[in-house]
Symmetry: C2
Subunit: 1011 residues, 2 copies
């Protein structure tokens, strides 16, 4: 420690440290009647982009980008301490938490004071600034909750402002759900279509009230501020270390004194902005990406500007935050213009539609989506078992998933090494959660016999790589006297009947259910494409060759109770003839007769060339000519007049070409009692399997695409089309973050008179749940397994972009071409993508039921766990079926449990229910739903239930009392209906259409189910 | 102010602020027996280079270079406060003073504590890190004194260490005068010849005892440390904001943890350095140009390295300073290798001799030299008049000159806009000093009649641009009844008889002396080259056309007392025949007979082609064939195999070509009673006037060179040669900073076996005073008016490089070609250089007298001031002659007053005397000299006289007691003789050869002479 005398001097000088001997007057506050320039000091810290999140935090790997968030936070704290008028906002909790963990207790109390006094304010407050196009609403909620609850717990603060300044377009769900329902008073960003922005400038409409929800009407309104240019400071006011803008040189003893010039610059810039802004308040975002590495450089200049602008007297400049700015806007008592719908797609120039990233890195997008569901399920299981503290659990996956929602993560717009880092974090998170899930399933299944249910003996294996036909647990041969138990967990609140498939090495199996009954099975020979994919990717990612090669997919039907599991057993067939049915196999090559598949209501027909040509449902009698095709766009190389290349962010095609097999397409059809499959080699690098399940009325299409050939040095984007003769009048519907469906009209924007420059790219929209079209009679719906881009570029047709491989950078900073490869022994080839989509045609008005309820099942697939057992003793030591829910109860098909998570204590639970339907979507299900908590929690004793805001950092009632209510041109619109407050004696939760309700429930005793 | 509770928390956390929760142990001290790695945190802040000094300070103009010294000092103070073990050194006082002036009192006391505790230490301590090749020792002393006295006064500290880390070669004067005599304990740098460095590494001789003075022998020894590579940190240990070297990632919770790798790197690097270093101590210079803009980035990493290296235990790392390091070296009690001579020239690669800058920007070099003398004279006059406080004086010139000594200022290696900035500062400084000089001369000359001598009525004009024939004061026509008083001031301590020349507009003048006696004059028609130069440069620099055009130079002899003035009067000739003699004019063009000039002892002969061919002195009977020629080098363009181009720093010729007039040289000879002139157009862009004064025995050559033609896209360097038949055996002598002459042997270095790669560039040396060669009979001396490069590349010949114009950058950072132009109305042409050199041939052993005593007169030319008067009343109201010295006294010809300067009070005076001769140089003058202060100060009452060290920040006796005495291979060598301590009753100062003695004299009453 320094000597006391020195410290005492420090004490007395803290307010002037690092300031000049001129005492700057930084105490300006809002002055009514003047132009008030709100200087908002901020840094925009990408949670991974060109560098990984940790590299950004510690400031390593600076050869890629000079950036250290540690510097930012260290130096901002110092700068705030030296002048109490200075303010700063911080956004990304993933970084803040890294920093916080490294601070001493003494520093922590200093920072708490800064936060308490409002000098340092958390804005947005999620772990990251999530993307809004390629994210699922459940992930958005989870990552926001993680950040908000940390802030609440550690600092007792509730962020007031949405600050989505960088994401590439803005979703309705962000507006009404992640802003209004969170309790934000305003939402700010800048990336909207350049035509829209110009129009809004002309109309002074950059600040608006945004009504994101049709269902909730004016109760979903959020004040929305769109920055006139970017989230950077105005030109000439960048003050990072080594920045080139002119500083304020106010030392008259030195050369280049320039106070008056700089004040003039300030006033002129402010007046120009004031001219396109309603009210007397304008905001300057004083910072940008990873700025404030030495915060003093900014604050020194802002101190001077505030000081000299005050002396000048033409405008007023003050240290501010978005909260202060928002309050000033509110106080103006204006009636704001109204915005509905969303801000997609985003274009920043004529040929620069940021619609490529809707599909970029489909593998990351798929990984994120499947782990999102796994995280949901694993938290349920953690709740059911009771939280244990043993180095594994769901926290790590929670963090990894939260970070993956960042607008340069799941978007696919990060550098390859950063994508690898996200994948690594997800893999580590999964591995820890997988252990927990295995343990929980073992505990729950052993719970009938085992008193100490958190230390079970049963070992479960799981198969993350089932999508590439790799499941060692199911592939092993089963010797005599042994069998394999397959536990099937259902994280949804209703009972499910589904077909599951696992790879097996031989055909000599029988499958029995929990009651020991032998059940029908079907064996489907595994095609060479799947086997090739399996062996290459196992080699690439696990660095080992699979020891055995499975021969069949074994398919059978399972029935699983809500929030629970069933168990199935595979054992060696004791005698010939008792084993599974092998699918009947038909191979076609060359001209063939029409083929029809489908053992149940749904029939698909293929023409002589092997092309799907008709869809027929025996029950609904829907019969539609339908074709499925593939095609590709060639990516613009940016070498033409407009240097805009097609890239990770931007979809800029320069041509579209149908894909047909060079020669005659090979087609294989497998038929059996459970499902029919059509296998097609569309071309040498697109393989497709179409499945129709006897008991289901949709078609499932599984594709393997890649390596996309680029030997011709042309990047390509692979699309598929489902084409009907429906008369759809340019109209189609895409979901917003997997939630609300929004009407899209081709070549049209409701907010302005659109000039069409990019007929394909400009009509692409993000799809997370699905897309549909309708005409007077029918509706065609497609549901997806991950985020993709799609459109309806021709009436009657839906197009999805499934994979992209591009050779040029599109000049938005990432500095790499989106050219994903996978390597084995240093030999690399283009990434292959395996994925699925589902389609179905319904009579008009009947499609929602499938899209919504089956959509939830796509999101939350059944979770499989395998265990070997000796003989048939399983039933004696294990529960074979389990449900957390009262056996007499099922959640209605319009409600999903989207969160069920133990908090710090086992008796305290975060619980969210979501109504899955919008108003008017379905005659049966678009109604008020009820959830009986006593049934749901099967008579566990609920001592208190508090309804919370969406991010669970405040009680909902408090939020509603506090939240600013904005006047708009249409303030008196309907507010939509919502469920009543929960009566704690009845414990029934009502959910109106689209309603999501969040609760913290305290149980009397521990909520552990295994006991 | 922040709330008290917050401040109290700050208090308790200061030692850990910005550090991680890990408490780093930074308390390491030297551990005997281990390798001790002294981490020396430093920043190297050029006082102007790519940006101006003020731009560097405030951090503006960052588009050229990101650099802000304000950031450095602000953030270093913060970083030092957070851990008392951290240390930092600061060097350049020009920056520190700028910062200091801006600080609050509270901050000042904090910084005083840091300095007092040794956490912040001033090293070197001059205003800048002066160059050592192109600087004059008087300027070096002045700028060091300015810094050192500030540090002493403000902080009561005395810098212990010389830190000349960046200058481009190192001078003997730096070693013995500006280090040992200043009281430094060691001197550190890194730029020595690459061959020398390799040799020293091999011999472990990078650290050595340097004996810079032949005269003072071992009493001039200084411990000298040469860094093995540069003044940067070792590779891999740069930690500025955004630097790319790997940081220590020690957070186990984050990816890329690398503590052991970094510790290994540290230990390996330390061991490698230890292997070429004597003793267990090695120094790491932790910083480089303008680093520590956010000091925390460096200290955070050093904290970690010290902490983890300590844990590792293989080596010891500690926060250190050069002082601590020096003490550790001293404590090792080694006997160090001995170095004599100097470290010129410097080459960093085979073809990269940094000898171009000896001549680069000859105009700046000339400006600095002439203002150096003006500053000396003006301080004398300020002393004589008494300091006044009225916004003008010598402080501004002192600052400007101090900054101009920087190793990228007078060197000519700065960007053009920065050269302009230095010139502007010098011009402002001159303007303020000029006012003071005018006032002082008026005061002193009016002092007989005016009681209030500081408010005189006489107005004096001075003529800074006399060198380009521009002097409005002398050019005006003198009407009947008026006359012009010319006051001639002599700043030297001995009486001078010289010829002065002023431009006049007509021939009808008579000149009278102080006694009214008409004196002999001579009129020399002004040549067209001079008039062209005059009109272009007046237009260019003063933005006006001269109103009149002078026709003649009016020359006459003046006689001026020591430290005093005489007055001369010009008035209109009353009748025909009384006016001045017009020189006889002979014009030659084409073949001519031999020409001889010289009315006195010296005769110069020219052959039929107009070429000088003989030198003859009638008195000494020296008669030598001598030729003078011009030639040029062509600059290498760096497009060959070695990309090294000729540039501002580096002299890399690729050819040498004689210059002869295309056709027949025109030659004009002017003869008269006072002097003869030979005018020669050497070629269309070199004009030369050779002057022989009747009463003087040297030749004066004035040249105008330029614009150097570069239309052929080849840069050129213009040289002149004086060639004799002397047998000089590769040997020549050049001065060190205008002081000691050092023997040079062509293609030879005494310290190592030299490999010759650049036969011209590798033999160039800096010349500030002069250069000479000698053989058995005679010696040829050339004296210069500014710093130039020169050599003797052929026996019997001396070559000077006078001007350079180059078209390529030489890749040492400045990023501009040295292509100086001057513009009028946006039309630019290459810079013309007007300058002089002087030569003389003496019998062997007799040259020093001229070189030394006349050399001092070249440095301190007579100062002219003009005033118009009505009639002949001047004598009635003015003193016409004045001397501060007792009329019976003269300083001996071997002593110069190099400082006479009023300090804070008029009664307190800084006073320096310099013996001008080395031991053995002259049989009469290389002896102990005596200066009688009572005579010198003409009976002003001296109350105390304290002998000081050279930079006057401590008493000499205290310095000698403190200073470390180093053991070397030759510790017992002679110490040279020095004058005895001054007996305050006798007040006689003895000066041994080469001795400079510094005093602070207090006078009883005010020392003002005008009264």
């Amino acid at each position: 420690m320094a000597p006391l005398s020195l410290l005492l001097s420090v004490l007395s000088v803290l307010s002037t440290i690092a300031a000049e001997y001129v005492e700057y007057d930084t105490s300006s506050h809002i002055i009514p009647g003047m132009i008030n320039v709100h200087l908002v000091p901020h840094t925009h810290d990408d949670v991974g982009w060109l560098k990984t999140v940790d590299q950004y935090y510690v400031g390593s790997n600076n050869s890629i980008q000079g950036a250290s968030v540690q510097n930012v936070l260290d130096s901002v704290v110092q700068a705030l301490l030296s002048d109490k008028n200075r303010k700063f906002i911080y956004v990304e909790q993933a970084f803040f938490q890294r920093w916080w963990n490294q601070q001493s207790d003494a520093m922590k109390s200093i920072v708490k004071e800064l936060i308490s006094s409002g000098q340092l304010e958390f804005i947005n407050g999620g772990m990251c600034m999530h993307d809004e196009a390629t994210t699922h609403y459940i992930d958005m909620i989870d990552q926001t909750t993680l950040g908000h609850r940390f802030i609440k717990k550690e600092f007792n603060k509730i962020p007031r402002i949405g600050w989505q300044i960088d994401p590439f377009g803005h979703s309705a769900v962000q507006a009404y759900l992640l802003s209004t329902e969170v309790g934000f008073d305003a939402l700010y960003f800048f990336r909207i279509d350049y035509q829209d922005k110009q129009n809004r400038k002309n109309l002074k409409n950059l600040e608006t009230v945004w009504r994101g929800s049709k269902t909730f009407g004016s109760s979903s309104d959020i004040f929305t501020g769109i920055f006139p240019n970017s989230y950077e400071p105005p030109t000439g006011f960048h003050f990072e270390v080594n920045d080139k803008d002119p500083i304020v040189q106010d030392d008259i003893d030195l050369f280049d004194y320039n106070v008056q010039e700089r004040v003039n610059d300030f006033v002129e810039t402010a007046m120009a902005q004031a001219n396109i802004t309603r009210t007397n308040h304008i905001m300057w975002t004083m910072g940008t990406d990873f700025m404030y590495q030495y915060a003093n450089t900014w604050f020194r200049q802002m101190d001077k500007l505030i000081h000299y602008v005050k002396k000048d007297g033409r405008v007023n400049a003050l240290y501010s935050t978005p909260s202060i700015y928002t309050d000033a806007k509110y106080a103006a008592n204006e009636s704001w213009p109204l915005k509905t719908g969303d801000f997609f797609p985003y274009a920043d120039q004529t040929n620069a539609y940021w619609t490529g990233y809707f599909t970029s890195r489909p593998s990351i997008k798929g990984y994120v989506r499947s782990l999102s569901a796994y995280y949901l399920a694993s938290r349920q299981l953690e709740f059911l078992m009771g939280r244990i503290h043993s180095g594994f659990g769901t926290d790590s996956l929670a963090d990894a998933l939260a970070i993956a929602q960042h607008h340069d993560a799941v978007t696919g717009t990060e550098k390859q090494h950063v994508a690898n880092d996200y994948a690594k974090r997800l893999a580590i998170g999964y591995a820890k959660a997988e252990k927990l899930v295995g343990l929980a399933l073992a505990s729950l299944s052993e719970s009938s016999s085992n008193k100490n249910c958190q230390k079970p003996t049963t070992k479960f294996e799981q198969c993350l790589l089932l999508n590439i036909t790799y499941c060692p647990a199911s592939e092993v041969s089963i010797s005599d006297g042994k069998s394999k138990a397959i536990l099937v967990y259902n994280s949804i609140g209703w009972k499910r009947e589904e077909i599951i498939r696992i790879p097996v090495s031989s055909e000599h199996f029988v499958v029995t259910d929990s009651d020991g009954r032998k059940i029908e099975t079907q064996l489907l020979p595994i095609d060479d494409t799947s086997l090739g994919l399996r062996s290459y990717y196992v080699q690439a990612y696990l660095k080992k060759s699979p020891t055995s090669t499975p021969k069949f997919w074994l398919a059978f039907s399972v029935s699983v109770p809500p929030l629970g599991f069933s168990t199935y057993f595979i054992s060696a067939a004791e005698k010939k003839g008792t084993e599974s049915t092998i699918s009947k196999l038909h191979k076609y090559h060359g001209n063939i007769d029409n083929i029809e598949i489908g053992q149940g209501n749904l029939k698909l027909s293929y023409n002589g060339a092997g092309i799907l040509n008709q869809y027929f449902n025996n029950r609904s009698l829907v019969k539609e000519p339908v074709e499925q095709s593939y095609s590709y766009y060639t990516g613009d190389d940016g070498l033409g007049r407009d240097p805009q290349a097609d890239g990770a962010y931007i979809f800029r095609p320069n041509g579209s070409f149908p894909i047909s097999y060079p020669g005659q397409m090979a087609i294989e059809v497998m038929k059996g009692p459970i499902l029919d499959e059509v296998h097609q080699s569309i071309n040498p690098w697109i393989y497709q399997i179409t499945r129709v399940y006897k008991e289901k009325e949709y078609a499932e299409i599984e594709f393997v695409i890649g390596p996309i050939p680029v030997a011709d040095e042309i990047g390509k984007e692979i699309t598929t089309q489902i084409t009907t003769t429906m008369v759809t009048n340019k109209t189609f519907y895409t979901d917003s973050n997997g939630r609300d469906f929004i009407k899209r009209i081709r070549d049209y924007r409701s907010d302005w008179n659109m000039e069409v420059n990019q007929p394909a790219a400009g009509n692409y929209y993000p799809i997370n749940l699905g897309v549909y079209i309708e005409d007077e009679r029918t509706e065609l719906s497609i549901l997806v397994d991950r985020s993709v881009g799609g459109s309806s570029l021709i009436d009657g047709q839906i197009e999805l972009m499934l994979h992209r491989r591009l050779l040029f950078d599109d000049s938005r900073g990432v500095g790499e071409a989106l050219n994903e490869t996978v390597c084995v022994d240093d030999e690399c080839s283009g990434l292959r993508i395996q994925g699925k989509f589902y389609f179905r045609i319904d009579p008009l008005g009947e499609g929602a039921k499938w899209r919504r309820s089956f959509g939830q099942e796509i999101y939350s697939p059944l979770l499989l766990a395998f265990s070997e057992q000796d003989g048939n003793s399983w039933e004696k030591t294990h529960l074979t079926t389990f449900s957390a829910i009262n056996p007499s109860y099922n959640l209605p098909k319009n409600v999903a449990i989207i969160t069920l998570q133990t908090l710090e204590k086992n008796s305290s639970v975060l619980f969210r229910l979501a109504h899955l339907y919008e108003v008017g979507e379905d005659k049966d299900l678009s109604v008020m739903a009820q959830v009986h908590l006593r049934m749901l929690f099967n008579d566990k004793n609920i001592s208190t239930i508090r309804e919370m805001n969406l991010s669970a950092n405040q009680e909902r009632s408090a939020m509603e009392k506090k939240r600013l209510v904005w006047k708009s041109e249409d303030s008196n619109a309907e507010k939509g209906s919502r469920g009543s407050p929960v009566d704690s004696s009845k414990l029934i939760v009502e959910l109106a259409p689209m309603e999501i309700r969040t609760f913290i429930i305290e149980f009397d005793d521990t909520a552990i189910y295994c006991s």
